[in-house]
Structure formats: structure tokens, C-alpha cells
Amino acid sequence: MDVLLFGIAKDIVGNSEIQITSKEKIPNSVQELKDYLIRKFPDFGKLSSFAVAVNSEYAQDDVPLNRNDEIAIIPPVSGG
């Protein structure tokens, strides 16, 4: 599973993408992905909040994740 990273999420991980391989437990939902990130990169827990986008739409925590989805981490936005 590939996860795109932007803004401070990219700085936290040190890359613009994370690959979660089947060696680890692949997150099945948005909530599981958030838990995975906070466990692996505790700095995610220090953010004001962060959202997950599935196929370039904001996704609620109960949305399931499929292998072919385009998944992205959306830290607090600050455009304008």
C-alpha cells in the first residue's frame, strides 16, 4: 500500500511517500491507517489534526482502504 504525504507529514516521515508492505499488517480502514502512522511516527500524534484522503476525497475514519486506492495524508491545511 502506497501513501502520499504532503506538508509537515512529508517532513515527519522524511519522504513524500510511505510504502506499507505485507510484512506489516496492512491497515484496512482510515482509522487503522491513522493508528499505524501514530505508532510508527509518534510526531503525527503532536499535530493539531490530520485527515486521510481516499481517491482524492476526504474520508471518514470508518472508510475501508483497498490496495488500489490512492491514499494521501492531509495535515492541517493552510492555503490562502
Binding site: 504532503f6 476525497e57 495535515p75 492541517p76 491545511v77 493552510s78
Partner: protein
């Protein structure tokens, strides 16, 4: 709404927006331009850097334009945001609307920028003399 312009660009040319919003059915055009301010909480900003998740940003900007056109009777709506490195005084965002009467475009313009700031995946990094900060990232 007869025309909608939604775009992410490298550089904003504020002189083109009047022509883009000009329309025979409109008696009013309202435009908001967001620019780089020199001081943030007393600290001097050297520059700002914007990045985006472009595919999603364009979708969200499109939704905002369509929602605005549902709420008010608008003829043309424009939402354009710049990315990359921006210096003090440079424009970074332009939103605008044209409508038959001024109330609609004034109110729509405020809605366009306020909603953009809440939902569109664009991130701003402030570069100070000796540090950089992702805006709004931390409580």
C-alpha cells in the same frame, strides 16, 4: 453560473482577473487577493512556500465554486491559487465572482476564500531568518 475558472498556478497575474470576471449580465464584480505579509506575530517572514496535492485541491476548489453558485446567483466564479516560493507582497490567491447585483458577489467572495482556507489541500511554510514553520500544523 456561466463560467468557472479553477486553477493552481506558479504565479498570479492580478491584472487578468477583471477581464475574466467581466460579463454583460453582471453589474458587480468582487475580488479578493491574498498576499504575503511581512510580519507574523512580530517575526519577520523572509518568504512563504506553498505546496499542494493538486488533483484533490482542484476537486475541492471546484466544489467550492459550485456551492457558491448554488447559494448566490453568480455569473462567473474564479478561484486561483499559486504554489512555490513567494516573497513579501506577492499575491498567492485570487478569488472572485461577478453577479447582476453587488450583494451576491460580495457575500460569495468571502465564502470562496473562507472555505478555501478550511478545505483545500494547500500547505504554507513560513521561512523566517533562522527557522521554517508549517502554518497551523501544531496546536
Amino acid at each position: 453560473m456561466s463560467k468557472k475558472i479553477v486553477a493552481i498556478v506558479d504565479r498570479i497575474d492580478t491584472s487578468q482577473v477583471f477581464t475574466e470576471l467581466s460579463d454583460a449580465q453582471s453589474g458587480g464584480i468582487c475580488v479578493f487577493v491574498g498576499t504575503v505579509r511581512e510580519f507574523t506575530q512580530g517575526e519577520e517572514v523572509v518568504s512563504l512556500e506553498f505546496e499542494t496535492y493538486q488533483k484533490m485541491a482542484l476537486k475541492e476548489m471546484d466544489k467550492i465554486a459550485l456551492d457558491a453558485a448554488k447559494k448566490w446567483n453568480l455569473n462567473i466564479v474564479i478561484i486561483r491559487h499559486a504554489v512555490g516560493l513567494k516573497k513579501v507582497e506577492e499575491p498567492v490567491v485570487v478569488v472572485g465572482a461577478s453577479s447582476a447585483h453587488r450583494d451576491a458577489c460580495f457575500e460569495a467572495c468571502r465564502y470562496l476564500i473562507d472555505t478555501l482556507k478550511e478545505t483545500v489541500p494547500i500547505w504554507k511554510k513560513e521561512m523566517f531568518e533562522n527557522k521554517t514553520v508549517w502554518v497551523s500544523a501544531h496546536p
